[in-house]
Amino acid sequence: MKIFLRPLLVFYLKALAKLLLWFKQPQIIAIAGSNNKTFTKNQIKKTLQAKQLICRASPKSYNTDIGLSLSILGIASGYSDYKKWGRVLIQALAALFRPGFPDYLILEIGIAQPGDMKQLLSIIKPRISIITDLTQKYLEAFQDMDYLVKEYQLLFKKTNPKGFLIVNFDNPRLRQLAKTAGSTVISFGQARNYDYRITRLKRKNYRERIVIKHQKHSKLYQLKRYGLHNIYAFCIAVVIKQIIKTNKQDN
């Protein structure tokens, strides 16, 4: 029964999610990559909220075809409980008529199988896409790394041409991939020639310390979370903040 029901559920939720996006026209920030999606999502959400911007982020790791639609509709998964899924179907329809909608949707995109990216990008067209990292995680379902890279290539092509691609340039495959981008690429990482250059300093007072240099401006930050992935997530949020600020000035 599951074999028949799942595609129906995917179709139903996808249709409603697309309809809702068409009505509400939010700015979509899509986060893809092998690692660090949730940390990045949380950091962006925190940054936008601090700027008093109305945003919503995918709960937990809702990043599959069903999860992405649920994130857009703003409802929780029924997981393995059929009764709960019954409620989800009703809530999904009701979401169309719910007043208010965030200006920004921060959505995770999960790639585990060939064709996943195509399926997910048939639901959303991101204004800003982020690729956090690319590793051999989730490689099992692909013939080799080139096939996995092709999935991400699609995101580079399908992001709104007037939008932005924020890419981790510390990753050599992503540096290569950026050459195929159809929209503006903003690079970040630890090398000198990137748009946002991170310099990692020695921890002090039990805080991670970094300097982010963009154009001629350098700023020191102290982070309460540890590790390079949290530094990347923080840097991405700084980039997003700058994009929004520049957009506002332009408007």
Partner: protein
Amino acid sequence: MFERVKNLRLSIIKQIELLASRYPDSISLAQGIPSFQSPPCVKRSVELALKSSIIDKYSLSPGLPQLRELIELNLEKQNMYYDWETEIIVTAGTIQGITATILALTNPGDEILIPDPTYTSYREVITLAGCQPVYVPLNQANNWSFEIERFAQAITNKTKAIFYCNPNNPTGTIYSQENLKLLAKLAEENNLFLISDEVYKEFTFDQKQIFSLAQVRRLRQRLVRIYGFSKAYAMTGWRVGYVHSDRSVIQEILKVHDCLVTCAAVVSQYAAIGALEMGETDLKKFNQRYLKLRDLVCDRLDRLSHVFQYTRPQSTYYVFPKIKPNHMTKLNQNQQIDSWDFAMKLLDKIAVAVVPGFAFGPNGEGHLRINFGRSAQDINRAFDRLDALFKV
């Protein structure tokens, strides 16, 4: 021959289980096994992993990145900040995490302070590492809390670490924040490591927040925290847990972990992913059921107040009643017996298995540990037999 292991003993708890297995009608309230099954989300996660054939190979030695990411996120919710890449290791249950930690932190001949009573296997792991366990008595009169002066008195120039379980097994005590901070101060003053086993941290019956010293950033390089999925998520068979500390410490523990198991079983790591991603509701459900079982076992013990005297456990699924002195003799034709003999008598006469208190340290003598993580039916059947034996 067998020099290294000559002072080790098979855990008393397992000995009791082995003996109980010979009694066809026995009811075991001994080993800390919950009666619930692992939540469906755990099984679902494993099913998906099996279908995708992603469990056939080793994971990285510290564990699957996606699991360690989830662990970091989970810790963050509890005000503990650790980098999943360099500061978290997924282990084959807590005991393997404990073993790797003790082997990494100590040298043979070191002393490790442990509260008395506390979990029985600590003694064995410490002994295996060639170290000396030093029991520091807890204060029974004050709900088995610890007295910092006693720890201070037990420190010698050989002391390397203070190792405790919070909430404490077998007493069900939650150590207060104030006391833990005093312990940390003592560790700092004497340059000692702190090893905190928090496998029962999710059991919060009286809605008490359980404070962890891992929340204190200053202690990062001094503290190793150990957690397991066995108890909270009813996953004892999966053997999966984790340790976390500052990277300077965890990278040393990783070397031992790699020697011991290479990596935790990948299938179990997927089970843990399921628990962390979707197990929150089950965790609450289990907690509510354990609360009811705690109240049930306390009610039943109240009926036996002429035999046992106990403190209501604040956490874990154990109660640790004291056997009233007159009943220590009554069961053995007025001859004085110890908690081991008392437990054996219970097994012999009514086929009820419990753990003798001395298994948890000298201060536990005269007590029994009763596991109320079993079904209400088992608890009631066992206590009906106790009622009959002690003529309620």
